[in-house]
Symmetry: C2
Subunit: 345 residues, 2 copies
Amino acid sequence: MSEKRIEISQLGEFGLIDRIKSRFTLQQPTSLKGIGDDCAVLDIDAENCMVVTTDMLVEGIHFDLSYIPVQHLGYKAVAVNVSDVAAMNAKPEQITVSIALSNRFSVEAVDALYEGIKAACDNYKIDLVGGDTTTSMSGLVISITAIGRAPKSKVAYRNGAKPNDIICVTGDLGAAFMGLQVLAREKEVYMADPNMQPSLDAYEYIVGRQLKAEARTDIVFDLEEAGLVPTSMIDVSDGLASELFHIASQSNVGVRIYEDKVPIDHETFETAVEFKLDPITCALNGGEDYELLFTISKEDQEKISKHPDIHMIGYMHERKNENVMITKQGNTVRLQAQGWDHFRS
Amino acid sequence: MSEKRIEISQLGEFGLIDRIKSRFTLQQPTSLKGIGDDCAVLDIDAENCMVVTTDMLVEGIHFDLSYIPVQHLGYKAVAVNVSDVAAMNAKPEQITVSIALSNRFSVEAVDALYEGIKAACDNYKIDLVGGDTTTSMSGLVISITAIGRAPKSKVAYRNGAKPNDIICVTGDLGAAFMGLQVLAREKEVYMADPNMQPSLDAYEYIVGRQLKAEARTDIVFDLEEAGLVPTSMIDVSDGLASELFHIASQSNVGVRIYEDKVPIDHETFETAVEFKLDPITCALNGGEDYELLFTISKEDQEKISKHPDIHMIGYMHERKNENVMITKQGNTVRLQAQGWDHFRS
């Protein structure tokens, strides 16, 4: 008896999401936006809407407790959801936190996890309003839902980019990825000889970027102050290239970025070289940066041209599927989206 | 070196939730109600609010895929969250669904899971608006967040019951618990002799109550039509006794119910007797009924006295901590809350 069976790895995460999405249609008038952006968008009244996002972090897949202290994990689990709220140009207000954990975890470990969650709530000025706690058969699972609010006129979707819009990205890229490489190397050294002390001093910035993710809610306030609404926006969780592809395909435009404009911290750059990795590849495909990637109309350029942490890295053009980078040598290369895909690893 | 370590089982689930709750205070003006009810309540405008609830179901803890077909599981995972929305006297509108699953699951299994989720969405007229999909190291984890809406004046909290309020419960109790006992017995029979066909015909109702949970959203509409707002409400997920304790302690009142008024289906009753279990104990402590338990003012009694599926089982009194049941023989016995506690099993 032959049983036809499709493996999830054949579809990949995005394929699976598309498959699910295709079977559901929206029927509630309050559902303004469903699956397919950083957040769902729900109607409140004539002017305002609510945004909702959810993320599940699984031990052994998304985090390794031998790298990340459990309070940092709590903080990061909140930050990645707040980042999705910021990516809609909305302000976060509430979260719910559900955890499943095995009897390997003590009450002290749970306390440390919620200390991290509380530090994030305090920093982002949000409230923990609910959740669920349960046992698991093995590792730790954290599922967080974040809720935010925005005037409808300010919500930035992935599909609003227009030809000639300028592509902006905040902060710097590739650091969290390089921080993870350093942590992995130090773990190997430690496993081989437990007397060796890990030497992380030279990598403080990039390891910090991996262990203590921050959401760029500050940018949402800065854009408001500048009187600027991005034409599209997304947060950089899977890597710059992958996020550029999301905006390009949903907006029906093409991307042109310049290698020399992509912001890379010198520590990221030097560590990449030390690891014999190409720094720009780390910046394009590293992931876990939680910076904001957005597009603005050319007319708005002046409004943020002096912002010290917003970098203009290229522009959109009308040739769909032509997503390219101009290298430092002046060559035009096609961008490849090689974001994280947990189903394909 | 002695390390002090508190086991989570020492606290239990409610102890752990209290511990978490005590460390968080609400700071957003839109957070009307945080941890401690069936849903959190968020402000929308002068008249309306949103309610939010979340639940995490873990394979091997909350469900056994050798009992429950995966599409039923999808349906049930939605229904239990919708039930929490109904327990606030609110109407559900949206859900997000996050799943973690191992490579043991095929795309066909995921399809079946989402077929169940879709059937529930269609039945409760709600939209799937977001979620997350990821791999897990072992079993299936489903985390659902449900969002509903209600006029502020109609939201029913757990803490609003007053002395002399009448205690009402919908449907019948203990059936899902007895259904689970039947399924467990049939599994044992099957494990001993795989040629034995399970004989579930005589247990159709109770097995159905276990495998196909339904949220009582119909009651929210019926109460609206009757022009009645319960003084307090909760859904029966952990067992009638446990839920009565929640309302009593949060409302600072005592409970007095009558054994002969507690609704038990004849199939539940007969199966309990067959299993040498006390039917009223199954009804009080069984759990997973997903009926609504609520209190109403005496003046409102007439408004629902003819409702075929609402049963008045007792009343509240002012002697806090005196939660009793009058048996069929006229004896007064103290109620014991022995709800499900996954951390103590």
